[in-house]
Amino acid sequence: MSAFHTLKVGFHRLGSPPNFYRLCTRLAPWFWIGFVVTATVGLYQALYVVPPDYQQSDSYRILFIHVPSAWQALAGYAIMAVLAAIALIWRIRTTEILAMACAPVGAAFTLICLATGAIWGKPMWGTWWVWDARLTSMLILLFIYLGIMGLYSAFEDRRKGARVACILVLVGVVNIPIIQFSVEWWTTLHQGSTINLLGESTMDPSMLPPLIWMTIAVKLMFTAVMLQRASLDLIDQDRRKRWVDGVIGEQSS
């Protein structure tokens, strides 16, 4: 009971803007350091250590950035949806801001996924783009992310904008299982999943380490940028409040 109480108090403290701001600004640099370390290891392995694929040769190395970006685009949306639901149900402003901070980073990873997928598709499929279910649903995800960002910034009252955008986030959740299962539900040019976290992967084990490192790296980067963007949104919204004066004072000294 006391552990639950401590957790509850800690959660409520995060709702306090100064505490939330301090937490974001203190944690973000550590996530960036983690990103630099893991991405350095991952990129080194992806470009220097793993052997070429026997069919795709070196072109498969694109996978080490394409797949983690795709996973993060989906995971980012799931995180944003959970935060949006919490924000709408309990009206916690900091959660609302965090949810909105997920959208630009998620859109960036969706863009990387689409661009690198197209670049890989040209030599392997003979075309940059096909309107198959996986590619199209991923493109729709990018439009949803952009729609959320646009809706959030379209309102002069940022809180109102965030609440409307949170509703769009929840509506857009329907696209996530469509992306995930598109390769099973429809006949697609995009291959089915070759990496299975719970079962056996069809990918050679020697190729897994860079993929794991890069997956961790993009997750750390996503968190770092999300926290930075959230802290800035918060300070922008609260610019007339007294606690912000303290922050400016700290920055000036």
Binding site: D58, S59, I65, A108, V225, R229, I248, Q251
Partner: protein
Amino acid sequence: MIPEFEYAAYVWSSYAIFAVVIAWQASVPFLRRRRLMAELREERALRSGHYGDQR
């Protein structure tokens, strides 16, 4: 030191896009913080009338 790949143009352009987008994502909060802090310091100076506090 730079590895020679088959399909090198495709591989390197993909990694370049990744690097550019990551750099863009890293720089946006940094630049926004600088602009926001300058705005807030200016607003505070206007309110208090102490223009000498601005940096």
